[in-house]
């Protein structure tokens, strides 16, 4: 059970009366602005942005609505392929490709969500997993469009012309800020949603679904909408990843990628605004640094998860909050 102080803090966050909460997007933007200089190298910092957004999108469904999905790779991957195909196969510019990625992820989320929200608990997790595997298979087989196992190459967005400026995305710092722009916009949207009446309802559904229904809320509709928004956010992360890597690996769609969202969220702290981001950063850093000095990095990574589960069950950010508001 969470300590009362933490519940109160969380409530102030919901009400938007907490200073940290009212400025949370600004704080995130400022921190992420200097973040690349805290990381070993830029490409890793960009990975944190992208997987952080991916985990935030997932956490909207899992942490706030309380539904555990094992199929979010389907949205990350569809977003990546949607964006990648528009650039690499159809030769269209980035400003069409990114929305195309988000949109295709949302469509897939609508289809999967429509079927999956009839089930609950562990069965929901398994249905999303199964349907995501089917999505994987479709993209794997559509080799002429997706490149199949070889992945989709040639998602090359070298430079971006905006009125007055031209951005060279081959420069890592420029690429970082280009991607940061989208991530901050997405965080702002998530923050608004969480603070809105809609956000209040999804938390109520997490707390007690039957009661929310009795209050007069169409729970199925709220679940489906949240599922689609969550899928679209993960799709945006995928689309940005396609531009970052300039390829789309088929690994974007495997179930390990779905698992990544779960792990990152839990590691950082589910149901908190910054938690998933912190989790993504911690996860990628642990992996990156340990892989440099030992081939057995998975031993360390595995042990770290276990320690967190046993001793810091609220995740890194959740534990920080708890300590702050003792």
């Amino acid at each position: 059970m969470r300590p009362l102080s933490l519940a109160l803090t969380a409530q102030r966050a919901r009400d938007g009366t907490d200073a940290l909460t009212r400025r949370r997007v600004l704080i995130a933007a400022l921190f992420l602005g200097v973040f690349p200089w805290l990381m070993p190298y830029k490409a890793l910092a960009i990975n944190v942005l992208i997987y952080g957004l991916y985990a935030v999108g997932f956490n909207l469904l899992y942490g706030y609505l309380g539904m555990l999905s094992f199929g979010h790779a389907a949205f990350f991957g569809t977003g990546a392929y949607g964006c990648g195909i528009v650039v690499a196969r159809w030769g269209k510019p980035w400003f069409l490709a990114i929305p195309a990625g988000v949109f295709s992820a949302a469509v897939v989320a609508l289809a999967i969500g429509y079927l999956a929200i009839r089930t609950r608990g562990i069965y929901f997790a398994m249905v999303t997993l199964a349907l995501a595997q089917c999505v994987y298979y479709v993209f794997f087989q559509a080799e002429s469009l997706t490149g199949g196992e070889n992945g989709l190459r040639g998602v090359n967005v070298r430079s971006i012309s905006l009125p007055g400026v031209s951005l060279n995305l081959l420069r890592p710092t420029t690429k970082y800020y280009f991607i940061l722009f989208f991530v901050v916009v997405a965080l702002w949207i998530v923050s608004r949603i969480l603070a809105s009446p809609f956000g209040a309802v999804i938390e109520a559904i997490r707390e007690r679904e039957a009661r929310a229904r009795a209050c007069g809320y169409n729970v199925a509709a709220f679940k489906l909408i949240t599922f689609v928004v969550s899928g679209a956010l993960c799709g945006l992360a995928g689309a940005l990843n396609a531009i970052h890597l300039s390829t789309v690996p088929i690994e974007s769609l495997v179930y390990e990628t779905s698992g990544l969202a779960v792990i990152m969220s839990l590691l950082g702290g589910t149901g908190t605004f910054f938690g998933p981001f912190v989790g993504a950063a911690a996860f990628l850093l642990i992996q990156d640094l340990t892989a440099l000095w030992t081939e057995h990095w998975q031993l360390i990574a595995g042990a770290v998860y276990m320690i967190f589960v046993l001793f810091f069950p609220r995740g890194i950010w959740g534990s920080v909050l708890e300590w702050l508001y003792r």
Partner: protein, 250 residues
């Protein structure tokens, strides 16, 4: 019977597999009345209550609310029709603050699919939630998470949440279950006060409790209505006495 019937069930039957939980229940409830549905455990009271609140749909039969057949409508629409319930098992949003619990319930009538406006912007909802907490007597606990409330307070919170949707019909399922005598007293006073302004249907198995405040009683047994009438009529009814109290006088 007067013409102003707010709710009626006509020939309502609910079957689970081969088991009949309710059989051919026909009752009418007048606007502004306080009716109690009583009966021993397993009589079908909770099933009946779930049908009235939309949690279940009848196998056959019709349920009319203000002249409209609502038997097949999804549960979440009931609150918008003007029907609210508080259930037998305490059902609040435990991690959310007490005032937020009521605010969310009140919000359902005002704004649902708004993704953008900060909820704090709807000041009238917060005021309304605070006022309802006053009504049920737990306004001083508004900031605590609901799970930190005492049992009786949680039941009061539930009633505040039910009231938040401004129901014309209030359904209360054993509102005093598990309460201490003091808490029970407070709760019954509260219910009596509420009944002055709206129609209330109360489900109880503690018969003594409802005798004093109910205008009418409906007695269920084995899924069927065995008696209905004023408290005095029921008190004098032999069938009720036999099946419900094993023949003892009360």
């Amino acid at each position: 019977m007067s013409g102003d019937v707010i709710l009626s069930t006509i020939g309502v039957t609910k079957r689970f597999g081969r088991f009949f939980a309710l059989r051919d229940v026909t009752v009418a409830f007048n606007r502004g009345s306080l009716t109690s549905i009583i009966g021993p455990n397993g009589a079908g009271k909770s099933t009946y209550f779930n049908l009235l609140s939309g949690a279940l749909s009848p196998t056959t039969g019709k349920i009319f609310f203000e002249g409209r057949d609502i038997a097949a409508l999804p549960q979440h629409t009931f609150a918008h029709l003007g029907i609210a319930k508080s259930s037998q098992i305490t059902s609040v949003f435990p991690e959310l603050s007490t005032v937020e619990n009521v605010r969310i319930a009140a919000q359902a009538r005002r704004v649902r699919y708004n993704f953008w406006t900060p909820r704090a912007r709807y000041i009238e909802l917060i005021d309304k939630a605070q006022a309802l907490l006053e009504v049920v007597g737990i306004a001083h606990r508004g900031d605590l998470p609901a799970r930190a409330l005492a049992h009786g307070e949680q039941r009061a919170l539930e009633i505040a949440m039910a009231l938040a949707s401004e129901p014309r019909l209030l359904l209360l399922d054993e509102p005093t279950a598990g309460m201490s005598p003091v808490e029970t007293r407070t709760m019954m006073d509260l219910i009596a006060g509420l009944a002055a302004k709206r129609t209330v249907i109360l489900v109880e198995h503690k018969m003594k409790l409802v005798m004093g405040i109910s205008q009418r009683l409906v007695v269920l047994h084995h899924g069927e209505i065995v008696a209905e009438g004023t408290p005095d009529e029921i008190r004098g009814n032999d069938t009720v006495r036999r099946i419900y109290l094993g023949g003892r006088k009360f």
